[in-house]
Amino acid sequence: MSITVSQVNKNFGDFVALQDINLDIPTGQLTALLGPSGGGKSTLLRIIAGLENADSGSITISGREATHLPAQKRNVGFVFQHYAAFKHMTVAKNIAFGLEIRKLPKARIKEKVDSLLELVHLTQFAGRLPAQLSGGQRQRMALARALAIEPSVLLLDEPFGALDAKVRKELRDWLRRLHDEVHVTTLFVTHDQEEALEVADNIVVINQGRVEQVGTPDELYDQPANDFVLGFLGPVTEFQGRLVRPHDLEIFRIETPGSVAGRIVRSTRVGFEVRLEVQLQATPEAPPVNVVVTRGEARSLGLTVGGTVFLGLQPALV
């Protein structure tokens, strides 16, 4: 295990940030710490990096007891949400920082910086100051700077949180490809479930200072441990007293065994999918059930607002 967290607790005054956290982060994988804001995931990351101290518990990094090691001795690469670029240094100097601190020979530093610049596609920006870069470029510089010290683990704190949606998506794909190239154990914090599902090998769901579930994206999505994980990883709707995903409901125009009748009260088309709100006849006071179908299905079944439909669970889920 690259990182082992055991029995970690952290309070800020009365606020319980982390409670009895036990985690093993596997070597060479990309793991996401996923959870709502204020759930404690960033605090955990900072404790692993040594930027914050736990009240109790211990941290082991690459088999080395690190609980009381200061940040500069942990050999951990840390990337901040707001880049934390050294504003008075050029891109190349930023990346060289950790190497200069380690007093590597100048030729060796230049060689490493050049190859890192290439890795993050910033070669032609080497002489620029961070202020002259875009957000995405700054974050790639910060990544190169963290990778330069050949860290035993790479920690990313909401690395794409400050970027706009399109850049965020591109950087996310790029991070995945980069990780497949570099293979450094990576732990990144995000509150975006789509980001975690798309990029991570493993996901740790953290809520209110506790670990809710650990698993692969598929495990978490298909076998959520509880309603919180189910609700956090994707859209849910209540159908006959249980929470299900809107796309796990089947919709018919004629009554079939096990289905219940309802009326379409709203229909919203978003790209290739159509989101329907169906008011069940049996429970007219309850909130409508959400169903998602493809545009083709909606068209072939002639699903329009006001129409009567029958809803049932997909056979696999019954």
Binding site: L51, Q72, H88, G136, I149, E170
Partner: protein, 338 residues
Amino acid sequence: MADTSWSTGLTTGPTAGVTDAPARHGSPTDQQSTIRPGVTPPATASVPVKPSTRNRKAGGAGRNGGGHVVRILLRLLVIGYLFFLVVWPVSLVVLRTFAPVNDTGGFDAFLTRISDPAFGYAFGLTLTAALWAVGLNAVFGLGISLLLVRYSFPGRRLLSALVDLPMSVSPVVVGLALVLAYSSNQGWFGPLLESLDWQIIFSTPGIVLATTFVSLPLVIREIVPVLQEIGTEQELAARSLGAGAVQTFLRITLPAIKWALVYGVVLSLARALGEFGAVKIVSQGASFNGETATLLVANRYGNFDEASAYAAAFLLVLIAITALVVVTILRPSKEHRS
């Protein structure tokens, strides 16, 4: 992202757009739009300014006429205020410095007056005290600023308020307080100072002490807001990259607050050179015996040697203005770079 706003951005920031271009050819996906958001802000920030200034010029007499008049009135008010309060009186000192007195005047007379050995002594003493004060306040000011911004401890707000005290208390009171505390025959150190036969009050250390006291807040008040603004992330990043506390300070914190420190030092220097009230109390104030430049101005003026008083006053103004001009020249170049 709005392609249109980006293309208007090209007109205001052509260098960013042009130099970014090869990047898009180089790597297919991620470069393409990561470049844009960085270019957009300067464009959207600078574009709206143009139409509004154009509007004002075009419809000056019409809709925007009221704003126009107010602006001119405000300018006149500020310029008038500064002129009658600062520029005019100070310029009179300059004029008087070179005005003929008893048939001698002009630059030669001025040179003769300032080559008086008492002038040399006075300005030497003032510079000594000012340099000590500035040096001490730069070092301790930096320390106190870091303490105030980077650490939270009980009494932090009290300390912050205390730091401003030297600016709010009259320098004469400061002088009296220092006399009570550091005279040879009283205070905590009185007996020790007496046994060592070391005099603080009525000698140079007393003048240094008084000057340091009154210029204490200037460095701190310059550095604190900058420290607050840069935050701790860069320092934390340096730590995680392996830098120790000293390396982080020298390589990250100090470069970031460098200009605030320089500006604070210059302000302190100007304040220290001009200190009068506190020094008046703690110094003997006689020629060649604790007479600083400001005391010399007062003494000469009181002794009906107005010409010398104006000459010394002119020198003080000259030094202060030089210091401020040097910093003003340095400052924009700094903003230009960042």
